[in-house]
């Protein structure tokens, strides 16, 4: 309790410093700071299903510093992504640092460059619906430099990498609150790589928020990489709102940290949208990783697919939760949810609890979760071809991951996933 008070005091101090000078974002910050002070942070007690398995004490119990370094040397951070055919922006400690965009179809406004208007700020948090908002409110109260991105192209695909970078030289944690709103205009096509990274020895909590409005007939390919360092706390709220005929494919690749929670919600606001959410997560040591993946089916005739897979090692704990909600008007919804896990250590733990709530008859829906190992007969088949138990195990664990990596169309990303994920899988030998 006491430590929690320290944390609240700390964030109030940061807020006060940020809001010292009046700006277009002041009111929004204030409103959200008030909410945080009034309602506090989510707790995993009191039968709170959404936070049943994740305890924010891992974040609030840390010592925090108010002074953020102005270190901007990115040389020691090796997982920053740059690719030839993509535009890049780098956000450091919540602040837009480099804007190298050279494409008229991608327009960026942000607070620190004073290009953001009061009107623009109305977009922030417009995709929230009053549920599970505490972490989003915390992000908004403390956001350093909210960024608005508009994508408007008709004949080509706009491609953007957003590196969300964290650096800290102090011995206490800092908290960063990157905030983005992305609007993809009608008939546009957008490829987004969202890459969360941190300098290796830096202590930080990164609480980011990304809202994406996918307008009529537009298409989003979203790649999310959680590469924050081992000691970091990673919180992310993502809301993707789909208008008529919108199409989204999202592939999330996550490595565990001290504590991470990915809160994703797809909102089908209009008819005929398609969403496919794939995810692959690896956890080891004492990491704690929470996927909270939700789809709110409001409009009729929408399709959604969730396909997540986890590989857990050591004493790590992973969670797959969230809800597919099919509301009363959402007739002809077609939805499938699946989460599969390979648990490679007796001390690793998975809580996979996808849920499905249906308030309409005329739909196709299914969900399933499996936690367990590859079966004996599979390994025997491979051994009978001369493969050792070790090699067969290795091929099967890679194969398990490949099922998600295979969804990645971009060749450069595909190759780097082989390198960064498949080649670095824990060595493990199945034993029956």
């Amino acid at each position: 309790m006491n430590t929690n008070k320290d944390f609240l005091k700390h964030i109030n101090n940061i807020y006060t410093t940020l809001n010292q000078n009046e700006s277009v974002i002041s009111q929004l910050r204030e409103k959200n700071m008030n909410s945080v002070n009034k309602y506090g942070l989510p707790t995993h007690r009191k039968g709170n299903e959404e936070w049943k398995y994740s305890n924010l004490n891992r974040m609030t119990d840390l010592n925090y510093s108010e002074n953020k370094s102005t270190e901007t040397n990115l040389k020691n951070i090796n997982n920053i992504i740059n690719m030839d055919d993509f535009e890049v922006i780098n956000i450091i400690n919540g602040q837009l640092f480099e804007n190298k965009i050279n494409n008229q179809n991608i327009k960026i406004k942000n607070l620190s460059s004073t290009t953001l208007t009061i009107n623009d700020t109305n977009k922030f948090n417009s995709t929230l619906d009053g549920e599970n908002e505490e972490i989003a409110q915390l992000n908004t109260a403390l956001c350093e430099d909210p960024i608005l991105i508009e994508i408007d192209n008709k004949n080509s695909v706009s491609k953007l990498i957003v590196n969300i970078i964290n650096i800290n030289i102090s011995n206490d944690y800092i908290i960063n609150s990157p905030k983005l709103f992305i609007e993809i205009h009608e008939d546009a096509e957008f490829e987004l790589i969202e890459n969360h990274v941190g300098e290796k020895s830096s202590l930080y909590t990164s609480n980011s928020m990304i809202e994406i409005l996918v307008n009529k007939n537009s298409k989003l390919s979203h790649y999310r990489f959680l590469e924050d360092n081992d000691e970091s706390i990673h919180l992310n709220t993502t809301r993707i709102k789909l208008m008529e005929n919108a199409h989204v494919e999202s592939n999330a690749f996550s490595k565990g940290t001290k504590l991470s929670r990915y809160d994703l919600k797809i909102i089908t606001a209009s008819e005929n949208s398609y969403s496919e959410l794939n995810g692959l997560y690896f956890t080891s040591k004492k990491q704690h990783l929470d996927n909270y993946i939700n789809i709110d089916h409001i409009a009729p005739h929408c399709t959604s697919r969730i396909n997540y897979k986890g590989i857990l090692n050591d004493e790590s704990h992973a969670i797959f939760g969230g809800t597919v909600l099919v509301r009363e008007g959402a007739i002809k919804t077609d939805s499938l949810q699946s989460d599969k896990n390979l648990v490679l250590s007796p001390k690793a733990e998975i809580d996979s609890k996808p849920s499905l709530y249906i308030f309409v008859d005329d739909i196709l829906a299914g969900h399933g979760a499996t936690a367990g190992n590859i079966d004996e007969n599979t390994v025997y088949y491979m051994q009978s071809r001369g493969l050792s138990l070790e090699l067969a195990s290795k091929m099967l664990i890679s194969g398990f991951a490949m099922e998600i990596i295979d969804k990645v169309q971009n060749q450069t990303l595909f190759d780097s996933l082989l390198e960064n994920y498949v080649n670095k899988l824990p060595s493990y030998t199945f034993d029956f």
Binding site: E376, N377, T378, Y380, Y381, M382, Q383, S384, R385, G386, L387, S388, L389, L391, A392, M395, L396, S398, G399, F400, A401, M402, E403, D406, F432
Partner: protein, 251 residues
Amino acid sequence: MSKNIIEIKNLHASVEDTKIIKGLNLKINVGEKHTIMGPNGSGKSTLANVLAGNPSYTVDSGEIIFMGQDLDEMEPDIRACIGLFLAFQYPVELPGVRMWQFLKSSLDAKREYNGQEPLSTREFDNLLNEYAEKVGISQDFIKRNVNEGFSGGEKKRNEILQLSLLNPKLAILDETDSGLDIDALKVVSQGIDSFSSNENSVLLVTHYQRILNYIQPDFVHVMMDGNIVTSGDKSLALELEEKGYDWLSTK
């Protein structure tokens, strides 16, 4: 003088504490083709799996000598490396494991065990293409995951492809003929036939004598209730087709 490839002596084997194989004897010499026939549940697959080293099955007593070595306690991968091959009755799907990688790794493992260098990608591809074409497996399949989404016939062809590549001393084929249409049956039979030579041996486990129209066995054994009850030449298979198995059980 003929050299024997495998000799099974008074074999007793069980699964989950149920005795299935009950004192079976069988000797196969190099260059011979043997067929084991018998009704469902007589223990044919159990025998095949015991020979291949399936860990679900327990050898209670008896001996299996393969290529002069006692197979007792030998891991299935080592059995494969010294020249034993089982074509599965129900080939297994390997999600996310590519055919090419699987086949190359298998051959490399066997070569390494026998002190040979792995084939270069080029050499391997040439070999693979040659055999794949023979069994009618297209390039598309080589890029796919092992057996995933393959039809029953495609899975069986894939077993024959693996047989050709690994070129074992003893090929045990567990009902590789069942569930095949006539064209697939021909392809599979041709595959077995072109593998078979006077330097290796075949043990063909089957439920029907249909495949014997394409493959000429030297010996036919009938298995019932965990043992070989009678042996003969090809004419025995024809007799079985006429009379069924019942006349044997009452003998």
